[in-house]
Amino acid sequence: MTAPPLPKQGPEISYREAVREAIREAILGDPRVFLMGEDVGRYGGCYAVTKGLLEEFGPERIRDTPLSESAFVGAGIGAALGGMRPIVEVMTVNFSLLALDQIVNNAATLRHMSGGQFEVPLVIRMATGAGRQLAAQHSHSLEGWYAHIPGIKVLAPATLEDARFMLGAALADPNPVLIFEHVMLYNMTGTLDGAGPVDIRSAKVRRVGRDVTLIAYGGTLFKTLIAAETLAKEGIEAEVIDLRVLRPLDTGTILASVRRTRRAVIVDEGWRSGSLSAEVSARITEGAFWDLDAPVERVCSAEVPIPYPRHLEEAALPQPPGIVAAAKATLGR
């Protein structure tokens, strides 16, 4: 998969390398930063993101942990309380359930509950999503759950630029920040010419259009851009919004677009019921009801533990044809 919106100049870099560069920069720039997680060191990372970092930075800064998600995520929280700036890698969101108590009950609460005395400047990175035929226990898209928790911020870098620069912004933020890297993006390549520091506040319009607003994030952004190209061939100009930040949601950018296009489709790889798409839909209804010319549509994953065979996995996940159909439905076509 390639990244259409980035200009094709300068050296090619992959999403994987962009994340690695971000980690390198962070470690080089701040002695308090270190990385810990399962197989981030000697193995080089489950998705090869951290390859070479152990050799470059040594075992103090690049820490292989045992299989103990609750303890090492909790240790990241504790280390942040103690003055460090940890980057904790949970191999994938599927395993983060084992650490969820630490995130919900400690990372998210400590600042408020302590009356503002303590803070948890922690970054947790994890791979998310399906598409590699890894079946029911290894294909979750649960970032929408994390976006429900007051006290944490949730990011979904879907471009090389965000992969390269969101981490720095997250580490500079005194709040606990979770970064979800979609597994199907790691091999995406492009160039970073002109790219630089990014904010972790705003959604971005990745394609301008006037007929319908398509809202996506993470692994569904490029499927949505593909759908927009298909729509364009049929004379429908879709605006594509990349949410980027799942908590706090940039409602302003969403509403401004929908008020113009008067139609919206949300694309979310989470299972439909109770996914983040529902929140976005509800906010559109609340903020732009009188501007809507059609009900807000959602394109999400089928409500099934993701099956192994390719054809079933593809059928279970949002795909460009479904996005096209939903966009057309908002236009009565």
Partner: protein, 332 residues
């Protein structure tokens, strides 16, 4: 069991009086809390430490200001012994902004940055991973502090105990794990929660040194703590102390205590840590006639003052309901 008389800490009269005073402060403070709970001044869950005071008091005396402390929902004693002011703790129980957590946490969530008191955690076992991280931060920043982590024997059954001991020993972190084995987790007796009821034996699974201490003997606790703290500061990695104790009161204010015999409670009350220290001090001549009365009078005054302080404290305004959820303004 540690022989308290073998590795005695500074057993000066002043020191013993200090230990006594701290235990009495906790006892009287909590007795007042129970009263205030009946009056509905304090709400939510209230877990009293009465009977177990020797552990927090003995332990805190062995720590330095740079050390980090993590405790559970049964942590009034730890906060007091650590040096958090009684006023701030009582105001917290009232839910007033003068409280040590700005009133937001209540009994189960006492916090204090000045004394590095990291709570107050209401999830059983939830504090252990934090302690590992606090220890890691000390080590990585080449500071001499350690993290002291208190938890009940019930928490030992949680996976967090297992994962935290292993991780801290693997990385040789300065963490002192203090298990307050009071024989019950709510209504579940140790033998029904642990197939191997000797908690300290479990440390072998992690190559972590461990010791059993008589948790009703404040001098023994302090001695064992000093030894452990010294070893940890010298780079030995984590240590587990199992302190054998008993809670004299109900688990919380809602507990009819159907699960234990009154006789058992009475038996343990004979080992009341305050009485025990008192009689030992009397025997050894360290207690003068007026000492106890003076301490009780001073403590009574302190407790009364904390109530007044809290009564006259202020409620947080509704406008700041969501302040401090994030640093800075963050819309939902």
């Amino acid at each position: 069991m540690t022989d308290a008389h073998a590795i005695k800490p500074h057993l000066s009269r002043e020191h013993l009086l200090d230990l006594l005073r701290e235990m009495v402060r906790i006892r009287r403070f909590e007795e007042k809390c129970a009263e205030l709970y009946q009056q509905e001044k304090i709400r939510g869950f209230l877990h009293l430490y009465i009977g177990e005071e020797a552990i927090a008091v003995g332990a805190m005396r062995a720590l330095e200001p740079g050390d980090a402390v993590i405790a559970t929902y049964r942590e009034h004693g730890h906060a007091l012994a650590r040096g958090v002011s009684m006023d701030a703790i009582m105001a917290e129980m009232y839910g007033k902004i003068e409280g040590c957590s700005r009133g937001r946490g209540g009994s189960m969530h006492l916090f204090d940055a000045a004394t590095r008191f990291y709570g107050g955690n209401a999830i059983v076992g939830g504090g252990l991973p934090l302690a590992v991280g606090l220890g890691l931060a000390e080590k990585m920043q080449k500071r001499s502090g350690l993290a002291a982590c208190f938890f009940g024997e019930g928490a030992v059954a949680e996976g967090e105990f297992h994962e935290s001991l292993n991780l801290s020993e693997l990385w040789k972190l300065p963490v002192l794990f203090v298990c307050e084995n009071n024989l019950y987790a709510m209504g579940t007796r140790l033998e029904r929660s642990e197939s191997q009821p000797d908690i300290h034996v479990k440390a072998q699974s992690y190559n972590v040194p461990a010791e059993v201490v008589d948790g009703m003997d404040v001098v023994a606790v302090e001695a064992a703590m000093r030894k452990a703290v010294a070893a940890i500061r010298s780079g030995a990695g984590p240590i587990l102390l199992e302190c054998r104790t008993y809670r004299f009161r109900a688990h919380s204010m809602f507990d009819p205590q159907l699960y234990r015999e009154k006789a058992e409670v009475e038996e343990w009350k004979k080992r009341d840590p305050i009485d025990r220290l008192l009689s030992w001090m009397r025997q050894s001549g360290a207690l003068h006639d007026a000492d106890l009365a003076a301490i009780e009078a001073a403590v009574a005054k302190e407790v009364d003052r904390s109530v007044e302080f809290s009564e006259s404290g202020k409620w947080e305004k509704l406008e700041t309901l969501t302040a401090d959820v994030y640093a800075g303004e963050v819309p939902p």
